[in-house]
Symmetry: C2
Subunit: 306 residues, 2 copies
Amino acid sequence: MKIAALAGGVGGAKLVDGLAQILPPEDLSIIVNTGDDFEHLGLFICPDLDTVCYTLAGLANGDTGWGRREETFNLLENLQKLGGPGWFQLGDKDAGTHLERTRRLNGGQILSQITAEFCRAWGVRQTIIPMTDQTVHTMVDTIEYGELAFQDYFVQRKCIPRVKGFRFDGIEFANPAPGVLEAINKADAVVICPSNPWVSIDTILRIPGVSPALSTKTVVAVSPIIGGRTVKGPAAKMFLELGLLPSALTVAEHYGDLLSGFILDNVDSDLADLFSIPTVFANIFMKTHEDRRNLAQDVLHLIRAL
Amino acid sequence: MKIAALAGGVGGAKLVDGLAQILPPEDLSIIVNTGDDFEHLGLFICPDLDTVCYTLAGLANGDTGWGRREETFNLLENLQKLGGPGWFQLGDKDAGTHLERTRRLNGGQILSQITAEFCRAWGVRQTIIPMTDQTVHTMVDTIEYGELAFQDYFVQRKCIPRVKGFRFDGIEFANPAPGVLEAINKADAVVICPSNPWVSIDTILRIPGVSPALSTKTVVAVSPIIGGRTVKGPAAKMFLELGLLPSALTVAEHYGDLLSGFILDNVDSDLADLFSIPTVFANIFMKTHEDRRNLAQDVLHLIRAL
């Protein structure tokens, strides 16, 4: 069974890792959000893309979910001593990725090609594709500060400002990266990972051509909301601030007609009757390596049943 | 006694360290070559300036003479794994310096100001000044490849190409950095460190205004050539390729009328009668911390005697 997964950062990477434990590598393609990519200290940084790549490469930090394992922070420590900005946790190994990516981008190589070559170097055999090779900036409209660049909202201001809405700057001119539509078209089903619907998945869905390609496909989503809360990140807080109940049901309604099936956490079993599409209950929390595989197994079961 | 020292990288930094062991910090200013500064991976790198700063900050690697002590190379290792260039030994701590310098330069701060602020952060109390805030590129004209940028000649090609001459690109438009002429004017004497005359010291001397300022001063030079060889670096090889005998005498002749006195190594005592200016014999090799101080002491003795 060929699967195309749409993923953001940490939560997405975990499910993708579970799918990778089951599927042959050639049957798994992952399309990753790049709306939170940003330039920092002259480096072109792709947080979601790196998290997915590091995870499948076995290089990710299991404790934080982002960054590299056995990482050092000697660069950042010296930079901060000299008065440089410390708000972004730039590890030494990670900085090597950003420097080489920036060098290649400045040399004219495109992000999807760079990502493919990095994956080859890291021994990742699944296909990881950035949603687009063009620049899309996720902008968070807030009550306190007006529109903020995503990393400003997310890292510098720690998701504290109250959200009014979102804008994906440049998305109307963005094309799907080479391989994105092909991955969707050849897939037997598309999995929307338990990533933030507003700032991770919507970005991918709004790339011109992606939603139409999905409309003919079996699409299942895994709820990023468990018992009204998120495991990590501001999704539940965003729902509330937008006047919506943070709930697995609200997530399913958000994706609407796109979905063929939905996976909720076991703790939300009381919501079962509220859904008009097939649902499955599972352990979405994914604490362990086995939890990832088990959730992926549940996702594939649902797909087979549809 | 107020001293202004002209310095390149490793050899210069060692003597400067010796002087710093003796003189009160406010009495020592160091004017450093920036002709070998270069951009690499988008980072603005100042090898000589960093070597002098790290040395006086007590942060230098005592074994190599350049780079940081207790350095890690995690960035470089990951960068190379991804196909990035490994010819420049970019340490993690060192990369923090370059990133912050580059950030500040891109923000409009000038190199001399950045250097002063870095020195303050590192607790360096002597005055370290880049020769200029403008861009000067030392170009090495070679038989095999024509003109090479200095780092290309020095690091990538390991000083193997045969030298025909040198050019300091941009030097005619360069001004001495703020503090350079002031440091020379207020100094009781100027010390030319045992650095490469062709590519470290000449660069400083050719900055418009520097040589005229030196002409009224007591200037002593320490030979970078010991028994016809250099401790490190290609100076002796360059003399030979330019048709000159690599010798302490040739160094003194190279600086000519500028000099009031000259320090040779003890092994060159047979050359004594060939000099027309006062000379002193000393241990120039500087293996230990004490050797540095002893040589500095010899330099100051000669200055007092002049």
